[in-house]
């Protein structure tokens, strides 16, 4: 990467990164919206990780959930509907020093941005992508979303949705994402664990979080909320301890096993479905830059261009 200049007035000592420091506008979400819990968990993870404040970058497309960056005091951008993955890719590739967090909804991620999701995953671009899946279009007020189940009555399907929904886990596995997890906005501890693990992973990390839209699709996630009589089934990951119990546990590097978990009927299971250490595009591009620079004898920009022009005389 071209170097960055960091000269200039000496900065004072850092204070501890507190929730207060990273809190911005009060969220415009409806009271009771699942997204509040996501925001609270995110603050907590940031506090726990004590990242450098200026290196936190939050990005989003368009939707209720995509308002997220306005509620985090940090560098960030509120982009256009569905295109936040490539925006984040540019930032991630040019600036490996930054922590790139991306937030969005099911429509933003699986419908209008579906192809970007696939290619971000395939290229394994380093970022942490949190999808708040409410099975509906919230911001535009109750249209069918790509994850709406068949039969869901929306303004665009008054007699019930008829199209087969996307299975987010299956799509992400086949697209090649290298960290894929599923969580639930009412399960804050689990959610935080998933955010932390996704953050620690080098590569394209995606968390699908069931996050209820109390306004347009209330109660849909109760079957996975123990407090509402449901059951929150967490994936038991292999401990590699050679015990008979371990035989039954899930190997997160096993793509086919992950795919089988993704087949389970709603509400399914939660936790890390898949994780793999495939090299990131960030690393591969860096390697290519280094070998190319070496071939030029690490010449200056001026020398390289001059040499090219000399050949064109």
């Amino acid at each position: 990467m071209p170097e960055t200049t960091t000269s200039a007035p000496p900065a004072p000592e850092r204070e501890k990164l507190t929730k207060k420091a990273i809190t911005a506008d009060h969220p415009t979400w409806c009271p009771g919206c699942g997204d509040f819990a996501v925001l609270a968990s995110f603050y907590k993870v940031l506090e726990k990780k004590q990242l450098d404040h200026e290196k936190i970058v939050t990005l989003a497309g368009i939707g209720c959930s995509s308002r997220f960056p306005y509620f985090v005091n940090g560098h960030g951008a509120h982009f256009i509907h569905g295109r936040a993955v490539p925006l984040a890719s540019g930032i991630s590739l040019a600036r490996p020093d930054l922590h790139v967090f991306l937030f969005g909804g099911d429509g933003d991620g699986f419908s209008i941005g579906g192809n970007h999701l696939n290619h971000g995953a395939r290229k394994n671009i380093n970022m942490t992508y949190f999808i708040m899946d409410n099975f509906v279009y919230g911001l535009t007020k109750k249209q069918t979303s790509p994850t709406s189940p068949i039969g869901f009555k929306s303004k665009t399907d008054p007699t019930g949705a008829i199209d087969q929904p996307v299975n987010p886990m299956k799509q992400l596995i086949s697209a090649g994402a290298t960290f894929i997890a599923r969580t639930h906005a009412t399960q804050v501890k689990h959610m935080m664990e998933m955010i932390e693990r996704a953050f620690d992973h080098q590569g394209f990390s995606v968390i699908e979080c069931l996050s209820e839209c109390v306004e347009f699709y209330p109660d849909v996630f109760d079957p996975a909320d123990p407090r509402k009589g449901g059951s929150f089934d967490v994936i038991q990951e292999k401990k590699w301890d050679n015990t008979p119990e371990d035989e039954l546990r899930h190997d997160v590097t096993d793509e086919l096993a992950a795919y089988k978990l993704a087949q389970l009927p709603f509400p399914g299971v939660f936790g890390v479905f898949y994780q793999n250490d495939r090299p990131t595009k960030n690393a591969l591009e860096k390697k290519w830059i280094e070998s190319t620079r070496e071939k030029t004898g690490n010449a200056s920009d001026l020398e390289i261009l001059q040499k090219t022009f000399d050949r064109m005389k």
């Binding site: 200039a8 005091n73 509120h78 540019g90 192809n115 290619h119 920009d301």
Partner: protein, 582 residues
């Protein structure tokens, strides 16, 4: 890395002779029967198409070639065989793209560049994938060359279809050099000078069996060198540079083909030979020879652009290919994205992170980028968007030239979304305009369009070597901490700070596509919307005060003139009748 355009689908080897050869070097082809029409037929030529430096003595220079052959004076001593000084010639090579006519034409262009001549080329891209009929036209001039020429002075026809399709583009009195193995001209048409040479046969003969007729292009280059008294040593050097790094046998084969063409006694069938007048350049700088897309790519690099993203489309692809290859040398990255929506978004991500970035396309892809370019206007992000125009609307005429996207560039966004639109006037201008675009994008934190087109993208021109030491921009972003920061101050031009910059008062900026306040936070206030709309427009007013009045080429005819806050710099010389299309 190829510096000269190579025909599609034929790899880097261009039309170079590739096959091994068994012929011994120095083989001179046999003198064939002159495939010339009857003396009467050719003698009727009236006006020489090639522009003489000074009016030739009456008749002499225009005598029909065959007619003068009846004399027995040795050729070298005959006044009519001495090269005639010319200042300008349009040479059109018409064949199939797989014959390497682009390569041969590019050699001529580079030679012109190295010989202080001005040059402009024009080529067509065959519509079929595997090659097919195409032309490469080279105009060489001792003075300034402002167009590639509508009509040719000298036409080389490799095939019957080349002859049929292009004979009407030959000026009256012009020379048709044709491959007599493949072409049967209509000698009843008395407007032209006919010079038949069995190009295919002689190339095969010179190179031996396996090369087949590969190398015809270089053979013809030899012929042309003789006819136009070109500097053979320089040309041979250019040829060997092109094939440097390849198998030595390729260079040898090329030299053999060239030698065979050059040694062919063309004087027996064309009494005329020409020589470009040498008017030494006064600038004292060497000339660089390249096409418009190369100039654009290198201009971007000189202007400090180190990141970009794109999706392939003719005729933009060669810019992105060059950047993908070149940028890593400078520590940068060019990403081939999944589509144009992603590529403009990636470029915005690069720009946001502190490295002004480029994206580009032709019409169809620019249409797809439109929404994100509007975001760049609203969020005030510097960005360069290249539109290498082609025929539209829709998929239109993918390989043909048209300049029909001006309105899209200026107005192609919803709402008031000011942007700057620049148009390159020449290949040289492609280089400088890229540097200018980068400067404007940074200074005014705005999207900047660069308009080019198929013709400019593919044509080769020679221009004075830029003084890179004065031009190179160092793109390091400034991450020094700030006490406090407002991304959208109402009373100043926005200058974003890249993420990673510490802000000591702890209030971090947000970049927003929603209408926003000075900190980037959303507002629905009509009053603030007016203030912010004016803020975004006013910076382009500032720019308008700073940029020079456009130079106007040709006649002052325009149906519509556009006056708006959008800066419209330089118009292409399209109204002076120089379009290669009729």
């Amino acid at each position: 890395m190829s510096e000269t355009p190579v025909q599609p689908g034929n790899g880097d080897s261009g039309g170079a002779p590739t096959g091994a050869t068994t012929a011994t070097s120095g083989d001179v082809p046999q003198v064939p029967d002159a495939s010339l029409p009857s003396a009467e037929g050719a003698a009727r030529t009236t006006t020489a198409a090639l522009q003489p430096a000074s009016p030739p003595s009456a008749g002499a220079a225009r005598t029909a070639p065959a007619a003068s052959q009846s004399t027995s004076t040795p050729a070298s001593e005959r006044a009519d065989l001495r090269p005639e000084n010319i200042q300008d010639a349009v040479i059109r090579l018409a064949g199939n793209s797989q014959d390497g006519i682009q390569t041969a034409g590019a050699f001529l262009a580079r030679l012109a560049g190295r010989s202080d001549h001005d040059v402009m080329t024009y080529m067509t891209i065959p519509a079929t994938i595997s090659g097919g009929p195409s032309i490469f036209q080279v105009r060489i001039g001792s003075g300034e060359v402002l167009s590639a020429g509508d009509e040719a002075d000298f036409l080389v026809a490799f095939y019957q279809h080349s002859y049929q399709d292009h004979i009407d583009f030959l000026k009256e009195g012009g020379v048709l050099l044709y491959d007599s193995d493949n072409v049967e001209p209509n000698f009843d048409d008395k407007r032209f000078v006919y010079v038949g040479v069995p190009i295919t046969g002689l190339t095969i003969e010179a190179l031996g069996g396996t090369a087949k007729d590969k190398g015809k292009n270089i053979f013809v280059l030899g012929l042309i060198s003789k006819i136009f008294s070109l500097d053979v040593d320089k040309l041979k050097k250019i040829i060997s540079e092109k094939f440097a790094g390849k198998d030595q046998s390729i260079v040898n084969t090329a030299m053999m083909a060239f030698q065979a063409g050059y040694a062919y006694p063309v004087g027996k069938v064309l009494t005329h030979q020409y020589r470009f007048e040498h008017l030494p350049k006064t600038t004292g700088r060497a000339q660089i020879t390249m096409d418009g897309n190369q100039a654009l790519a290198y201009g971007l690099i000189a202007g400090g652009v180190r990141y970009g993203a794109g999706y392939p489309i003719t005729p933009w692809s060669s810019v992105m290919e060059a950047l993908r290859r070149e940028l890593p040398k400078y520590g940068g990255i060019f990403v081939q994205a999944e589509d144009e929506l992603a590529s403009v978004s990636l470029a915005l991500g690069f720009s946001y992170s502190g490295y002004l970035a480029v994206t580009g396309s032709a019409g169809p892809g620019i249409s797809l980028k439109t929404e994100a370019i509007g975001w760049a206007s609203m969020a005030e992000i510097p960005l360069i968007i290249c539109n290498i125009q082609r025929g539209g609307p829709s998929t239109g005429l993918p390989t043909n030239v048209e300049q029909s996207d001006l309105h899209q560039a200026i107005y192609g966004g919803h709402g008031d979304s000011p942007r700057v639109v620049l148009a390159a006037a020449s290949v040289e201008d492609c280089f400088y305009i890229a540097i200018e675009a980068a400067r404007i994008a940074r200074k005014y934190s705005t999207p900047v369009f660069i308009l080019s087109d198929t013709s400019l993208a593919t044509r080769i021109e020679a221009f004075d070597e830029p003084d890179l030491s004065k031009l190179m921009v160092d793109p390091k972003p400034d991450l020094s901490p700030r006490q406090t920061f407002k991304p959208y101050p109402v009373d100043a031009i926005t200058q974003h700070i890249p993420p990673g910059t510490r802000i000591l008062d702890g209030k971090y900026p947000l970049l927003s596509g929603l209408e926003h306040d000075e900190m980037g936070h959303p507002t629905g206030s009509p009053k603030l919307h007016m203030v912010m709309t004016a803020k975004r427009r006013n910076k382009l007013r500032k720019l308008a005060e700073e940029i020079p009045v456009p130079e106007i080429y040709g006649r002052y005819i325009c149906a519509t003139s556009i006056h708006c806050p959008t800066a419209w710099k330089k118009s292409s010389p399209s109204s002076n009748g120089s379009s290669p299309w009729r």
